[in-house]
Every structure is written in C-alpha cells, then in structure tokens.
Symmetry: C2
Subunit: 187 residues, 2 copies
C-alpha cells in the first residue's frame, strides 16, 4: 500500500466512523422523538362514520402498547357509536359538549340487551362502561360538538356490534380489527 | 282474622311491596349513578405537593378498576413530579400549558439513571413513559398552568422515587400506596 492509498484508506475509515456515529445519533433521536407527539399530526379520520373525528393517541398495534390504548374523539351533532360491547375496561373524560350514554346492563339471564337506560353526559364529566355491558354514545346536542378522551384496556379492541337493542347477544357481529386498527394489523 | 285486621294486613303487604320496589329502584339508580360523574365533584388535592391539583378520575382502589386508572392533573408554574419510575404503561394527553419531560432511559448496565434528556411538552401533545424509565414532569413555564389527563395500567401505582438523578436504582424509595391512594387502601 503506497502513501496515497494509505491516506484514502484513512479517510474512508474516518468517514465510515462518522457515518456510524451519525446513524447511532439519528436512531437514538428518532426512537426518542416518538415519546412526545403532536396530536394534530397523528393521522385520524371518520372511518366511515359521518361526523366522527377519531385519532388513536396511543395505539397498541401502531405504537406497541400492551395494556392501554387512548383515543381522542369528536362527535358532530347527531353522531353516535354503533350499539356495541367489548370485554375491556373503558373510561371517558368529556372535554366539551354534551350528549347521552345509552347502556343496557349485562345480565346472564337475558339473551339480548333490551331497552337501555339513558344517562346525560357533558363537559367535565367522566363515565365508565362496565366490562361487556352493551352501550351507545350519542351526541344528542343539536349544535355543539361532543369531544372526549377515551381509555381502554386489553388493546387492540374487539368490538361486537348490535343492529338494534333487540339483537341477540349471540347474533352481535365481531368487528376485529376495528376500523382504525386495520392499517396496523398483520394477520 | 276479622275484616278490619284483614284490611290492615292487606295494606301492610301493599306498603311493604311498594317499599321493596322503591328499594330496588334506589339501589339500581345509585349503582348506575356512579357510571357518570362530575369531575369537579370528585375529591382531589395537592397531596403535599404545592402547586399540584390532582383528581383521580377513575380509580382502582376507590372504583374497582383492575386494568386502568385515569388522573386529571394541573401543575402550577414551577410544579414538578418527583424523579421516579413505575412498572406500568403511562400515557399523558396535554390539555393546556407547556413544560418539560425529563427522562433517563432504563439500561441494565447502569446502576443509576444519570443525566436525563429533556423533551418539550405542550398543549395538544401526547407523551408516553416507557415501562420503568426514570422520569420527571416539570411545568417549566413561568406563567401558565400545565394540565393533562394521565393514564396508567396495572393500578394501583407503585412509585419508586429518586432523591436526584444520581440516586442508585437500588436506593430508590418505594411509595405504596401512593399519596392519593392512601385513603382507599386497606392493608
């Protein structure tokens, strides 16, 4: 090896080291950056439900959460969830607006939900859905948006939907992966 | 039994039935009522940390949640958490204000957290704390309150606090039950 190729080799090693260090820094930064996210920059949508704005703030399938998932949802006037149930804990924190929670308590002797009870919900209230109780959240206000943070356990959510309150539990339809999980689901 | 005592007995049975029905309705209502709660009416406090307003919105020990717990916290300017870690998933949704998340990634080769990295947090951001990473949340803004919804898994929380970033992991102090859980804890 002459002195010229020696210098070339030295430069090559130096540049390689620099690239390796940059790569480590980049990796470190990018793995850190997703710790803090701007919610406005997280992709969301209406997922086929007119009047809905859903953002999965913390996702099981996308972000690797094993135990909790957090959603930010806004319902325009008249917008409602399907009648549904899921075998997880669920907590809502209402940030603005108002509406109605319809809930039919689960009973092992009934083969269908039956007529639900309506509970008014509003800004600065919190409500919870008992595991497997059939429920529906509805923005019954005619003007204001209804917005809440939703927390669920046991993600990703497995939703059983009911055509109406007289649909038999056995005939509820499993939706899995749920609409907003589909892009991140690998069978 | 003469006709008078027959009427008295009939009235007694009728009134008893009415009372029983009322009792069932009352029980049903009161067990339903706690599904929806006004957050302003849930007892909270500063729990010995000046500048803190903490409300346990959904509680493991108080409400019987097994898998998630939800807090609403407001930090006045300068208010901060202790330097701490916990073996659960944790997600923050920032509602208003700004501040800094300090975080030292867990590494099995280190016996202490060491110098943390600071991440700016602000309104409409979300951030997560990796399980067991040592961290501190600080309202570094000099004027505004910092408010967020906090979600944890595996409640009730078991917090290990550090005197400073050079405290050894082995010397971190277990706080259990944590301040806001003490009133609801039965050994």
């Amino acid at each position: 090896m002459n002195w010229k190729s020696g210098i070339v080799m030295e430069e090559f090693l130096w540049i390689s080291s620099l690239m390796a260090v940059s790569l480590v820094c980049w990796w470190t930064d990018s793995s850190r950056l997703d710790l803090v996210r701007n919610i406005s920059e997280i992709e969301g949508g209406d997922y086929g439900r007119p009047g809905l704005s859903h953002v999965t703030v913390a996702s099981s399938l996308r972000d690797g959460f094993d135990e909790v998932e957090v959603w930010l949802q806004t319902f325009g006037p008249g917008t409602r969830t399907p009648i549904h149930r899921h075998a997880c804990e669920e907590v809502f924190v209402v940030l603005k607006g108002g509406g109605t929670l319809y809930l039919a308590a689960a009973s092992s002797s009934d083969d269908r939900p039956g007529t639900p009870v309506g509970f008014p919900i509003g800004s600065n209230t919190t409500f919870r859905i008992p595991v497997n109780d059939v429920h529906q959240v509805w923005n019954t206000d005619e003007e204001q948006d209804l917005q809440f943070v939703v927390v669920i356990s046991r993600p990703p959510v497995k939703v059983y939907t009911y055509q109406d309150w007289n649909t038999k539990h056995a005939e509820a339809k499993l939706m899995f992966p749920y609409h907003w999980d589909r892009n991140f689901f690998t069978p």
